[in-house]
């Protein structure tokens, strides 16, 4: 009865209410062979599959409300930590000629600054496996410069720790994106952890059918500091096939399992994409990830998989 009533109510809504609403999502599933520190298994994994809704509503000619509600779903086994849906980027904001102010829980400017450099994003070869700073911050309020500044972009965010005695965090980024290129600089202070400062520099260029990416990160946790870098390449052989490769190495990476910083982290990935359509891609990949702690290997993992990515 409730479902019928909801359908009737929705059908009676004026179409103008739906005009600025976008419903979207992605299903990404891979069947992979995982060899993790010598333990082998076959597994079906859901790689950041999600569903979301975003939109805007005009308040006046120069001001509008914007919003986004996005949730992750586990296509493989139905739940994560006992939940069917887990919160991803969610915000509400006001957008005008002077820029956008938004608050909620979403990726920091430092995390977003990676742009398209990570060609194995959301897979085992994701740069988050060896780099710090991949934070979806809670209690974040952010200012984004208006799009009217052309190829330049800038964002600055304040992250409230909501704990007495714990420093609040700051994240900021600037970017320059002329046609087929992108250059970005970003920083985090006390965001992922107290006293953890991160600086990133990112560059991406697309020439004909080839995309090249470079990524540098400097980390200082108040006790130790280190560098990291990543290079990536994606080659569109034709409108259907693409080959890609990525290599990254970092000195320090916070490991939540050991609650300390792993050293000499390394990740290498190769892969291929086959585009069935504009919305559907089949892919295959091989990824190797290694980490050490006090000269002992704590991670020596290999992954070989095939998957499907469907955007809707």
């Amino acid at each position: 009865m409730k479902k019928v009533l909801a359908s009737v109510v929705l059908a009676a809504l004026p179409t103008t209410l739906l005009a600025d609403v976008i419903v979207y999502g992605k299903a990404n599933v891979a069947l992979q062979h995982a060899d993790e520190n010598g333990d082998s298994k076959m597994e079906l994994v859901s790689n950041s599959s999600r569903i979301g809704i975003k939109g805007s509503e005009d308040i006046s000619e120069d001001l509008k409300v914007i919003y986004q509600f996005e949730y992750q779903t586990e296509v493989d086994d139905g739940d994560r930590n006992g939940r069917t849906f887990n919160q991803r980027n969610i915000y509400i904001g006001l957008q005008g000629k002077a820029g956008t102010i938004m608050g909620g829980m979403f990726d920091t400017p430092l995390k977003v600054a990676q742009e398209k450099v990570d060609v194995f994003n959301d897979l085992e070869g994701d740069l988050g496996a060896i780099f710090n700073g991949e934070t979806r911050a809670k209690n974040i309020i952010q200012y984004v410069a208006p799009g009217s500044i052309g190829p330049f972009s800038a964002s600055v965010a304040y992250i409230a720790s909501e704990e007495d005695g714990v420093d609040d965090g700051v994240s900021a980024s600037v970017g320059y994106a002329p046609e087929n290129m992108y250059f970005g600089l970003a920083m985090d202070q006390d965001v992922q952890a107290e006293d953890l400062d991160i600086m990133r520099a990112v560059a991406r260029i697309t020439i004909q059918s080839v995309q090249l990416g470079a990524f540098y990160e400097r980390v200082d946790n108040g006790i130790d500091d280190g560098d990291g870098y990543l290079v990536s390449a994606l080659w569109n052989l034709n409108p259907v096939w693409a080959l890609k490769a990525q290599y990254g190495k970092t000195d320090l990476k916070y490991d939540s399992a050991f609650e300390t910083y792993a050293e000499d982290n390394e990740s290498i990935s190769i892969g291929a994409d086959y585009r069935l359509s504009k919305s559907t891609t089949l892919y295959g990949f091989y990824t190797q990830v290694e980490s050490e702690l006090e000269s002992a290997t704590i991670r020596d993992d290999d992954y070989l998989g095939v998957g499907i990515d469907f955007k809707f």
Binding site: I22, K26, E70, N89, T100, V112, S153, K311, F312
Partner: protein
Amino acid sequence: MKVLTRFIVAGFLVFTGLINAEEACEPAVDVADSLDVNATMDCNYEETGLNGVVHKLFNRDTAKPAPSDSSPDNLHHADQSVIPENQVESAFVANARELAAARYQLLQKISDQCSHEFRLLDERYSSRDKAIKVKLGYECLGD
């Protein structure tokens, strides 16, 4: 030195000539993931993916007004009061090259919908902040 300068300039011109324009609109899920709140202003997702289904599901059809003259000659003239049942529209674009490309993409979209030939019934342009979008009404022939 002059030769070197010319070589560098020529190399730069060749290099920039090799750089192709990226696609105008990415999938909505990728735009959302980028958190680029300035990006969606010029993209129209009303006819794509799940969003297209939702919009069509709750979209009310507008009634077609009867043509004032039903003679065959009248069918060849665009009537502003007749709204074609099938129509596609582009995103807002900022220059002539992008407008031509957008119109071509719409024709490709129509050709995907029609198994045989098709005919344009209506072609409209609207503008916003010096950007223009095109809307094409069509009917499939021979289906």
